[in-house]
């Protein structure tokens, strides 16, 4: 029997739990050359900013063991062009779209949310909290719980009631659980984690930093244990909050690991650079793994690793005459 893969972000139902990670799927058109983007759980856009951004100088990328460093600097066309050309293209094709937004101030996030409130075809809004706060000497919002909560609250207030707001958290903060709690208290309907933690590499031939920006976000399997840890801790503290897990998901096994730690959906990022078909492959592998373990529903596996040692899989209530 096929596994019921439906996943819920707040009240929004996704047909399956595999998403693209923000900034790793381009505009959607690039991946559409390889597979039908409507078949994945949802497409998450790169972080959209108010004005066009040219991003960081090159080199923007450096390969590291089982990962890569990147510093793109939120290159993008700005929200107007995004809504006109990219979002409308996604909406026309019926792609479930989660729009990621990034800003330098609470006001910018609010303005973005307001601008997107009437745009058709938005499944959810993801708030990228790893942007530097220009009003706080460039300290990223994620490192300051109260600033993060303020951003989430203002985006929540400006967004339509039926569009969930998801706060995207970074792992390189003092206490990810208290950050998560502040964001949920601020009105976040869900959390996604983890954003790429900052890393750096130095080219020993040129004897200069490998990236023009110096530091960059580390992604890929190198950060998967960080992702599992964050999802685990936050799910333990806030078991009712939907979590989109991400960070180094290359295979269905990686996806299942995050699900067992507490994620109800999983986003695929750097794997797409290596394999443009990664989302579909991971979805297939995840379904097979769930089937092999006797699950009828993905939801039964979410957070299952939290059960006490020695306990069998959570007893599923067998409903003979289920209305579902």
């Amino acid at each position: 029997m096929a596994v019921d893969l439906r996943s819920y972000l707040g009240h929004v139902e996704l047909p399956n739990p595999v998403l693209t990670a923000s900034g790793c799927g381009g505009t959607g058109r690039e991946l559409a050359q390889f597979f039908d983007v409507t078949r994945i759980g949802a497409f998450v856009t790169r972080s959209i900013t108010m004005s066009p951004r040219a991003g960081r100088p090159t080199p923007r990328m450096a390969e590291t063991p089982s990962g890569m460093l990147s510093a793109v600097g939120l290159q993008g066309p700005g929200v107007e062009v995004f809504a006109e050309r990219e979002l409308s293209w996604l909406a026309q094709r019926g792609v479930r779209t989660i729009v990621s937004i990034g800003g330098g101030s609470v006001a910018e996030y609010t303005a973005l949310a307001r601008r997107l409130a009437d745009a058709p075809g938005i499944t959810a809004v993801e708030v990228n909290l790893s942007c530097p706060n220009v009003e706080d000497r460039g300290r990223v919002f994620a490192r300051d719980g109260s600033a993060a909560a303020e951003v989430v609250a203002s985006v929540r207030a400006a967004t339509r009631y039926d569009v969930p707001v998801i706060a995207k958290l970074a792992p390189d903060v003092a206490d990810v659980v208290s950050l998560a709690r502040l964001c949920v208290d601020g009105g976040a309907d869900g959390l996604s984690m983890i954003n790429a933690p900052l890393g750096m590499s130095v080219d020993v031939d040129t004897m200069r930093p490998s990236l023009a920006a110096g530091t960059g976000g580390l992604s890929g399997p190198a950060i998967k244990p960080l992702a599992v840890r964050c999802v685990w801790q936050v799910h333990a503290a806030l078991p009712g909050v939907p979590i989109v897990g991400m960070g180094g998901v290359m295979t269905g096994r990686d996806a299942l690991e995050l699900v067992l730690a507490g994620a109800c959906a999983v986003a695929v990022g750097t794997a797409l650079f290596h394999d443009p078909y990664a989302c579909q492959r991971i979805l297939r592998e995840l379904e097979e793994l769930l089937q092999a373990r006797g699950f009828d529903r993905l939801a039964d596996a979410v957070g299952l690793a939290h059960r006490p040692a020695g306990a069998g899989p959570r007893n599923r209530i067998e409903l003979e005459e289920s209305s579902l």
């Binding site: 381009g26 004005s51 951004r53 100088p57 399997p221």
Partner: protein, 285 residues
């Protein structure tokens, strides 16, 4: 889309050393079918459980109809990824995505073309020369490198080209110097209408400068490090002046790798020009 890329697991047919470089021929009919001169492929390196996540991009050197279609690409060993590739043997399999990028635009009517290659950048020029000659174009070659063993395809150029001029920095083959030192003479002698160039960024900059003096177009294929090759990682950007006169940071993989030379702001590669769209503190919208 006729040119839409595909991912294939291709079998290595032959491997060979060419001077200082390696060449791999891979059976990949779906890639070969869609190929146009100037296209490139990306290759996953390190096998199925690789710790090297970024794909390596190589210009396609040749396609042949054998075994349904093969593609050949040329590379030099620069790090662990290309060293792994150099260790591939016949019958090994390779993960290829291609063909990628915008190919060289071709002239509508027969004309005289100078093809300039630096180091193994010349690898992509021979299929181009073939297509140009079949359209009745005259083709002249200028190939250069640091030393004789790094000049790729000198023999083939001599066979195909109306004239072939070789340069090496150390003088071990042809003229001593850079391709840009001899290019003006070649353009003048051949009365060239267009220049096609592929090689290091500094060479493309020099080639473009010469072409601007002659008032002829230079179609340059840029080399920029990239992670994906399909337009999603945003790491291979170059500052290019768009048709509306605005400089944008465009992706070498999907908007290029072939650009009209005069549009590329070579002096600003590796920076964000202050007047680029969305530059910090610069023009907004």
């Amino acid at each position: 889309m006729a040119g839409s890329p595909v991912q294939v697991t291709g079998t290595v047919l032959t491997t060979r050393r060419v001077e200082a470089y390696h060449a791999l021929t891979v059976v990949a009919p779906a890639v070969a079918d869609r190929f146009r001169p100037g296209h490139f492929v990306t290759v996953g390196v390190g096998g199925p459980y690789t710790s090297m996540l970024t794909r390596r991009a190589f210009a396609i050197h040749d396609v042949k109809p054998d075994y349904g279609g093969t593609v050949e690409f040329v590379f030099s060993v620069r790090g662990p990824g290309t060293a792994w590739l150099a260790d591939r043997r016949a019958r090994d399999t390779l993960d290829l995505v291609g063909p990628l990028g915008r190919p060289f635009p071709l002239p509508r009517d027969p004309c005289t073309c100078v093809l300039v290659g630096g180091e193994y950048g010349s690898a992509s020029l021979f299929v181009l020369a073939d297509v140009l000659q079949r359209r009745g174009c005259r083709v002249d070659f200028v190939l250069g490198a640091s030393s004789a063993d790094r000049v790729f395809g000198a023999l083939r150029a001599r066979r195909m080209g109306e004239t072939t001029t070789l340069t090496t920095v150390d003088g071990s083959l042809g003229m001593r110097g850079e391709v840009t030192d001899v290019l003006a003479g070649v353009i003048a002698d051949a009365r060239a209408d267009v220049v096609y160039a592929c090689g290091p960024m500094a060479m493309l900059r020099g080639v473009t400068a010469v072409c601007v003096e002659f008032g002829i177009p230079a179609q340059v294929s840029v080399e920029q490090s990239m992670a994906c090759g399909v337009g999603i990682c945003m790491t291979c950007v170059v500052p290019v002046i768009d048709e509306d006169g605005v400089t944008r940071m465009v992706r070498a993989c999907t908007d290029g790798p072939v650009f009209l030379g005069e549009r590329v702001r070579f002096d600003d590669v590796g920076t964000i020009p202050f007047d680029a769209l969305g530059a910090p503190g610069g023009r907004h919208g």
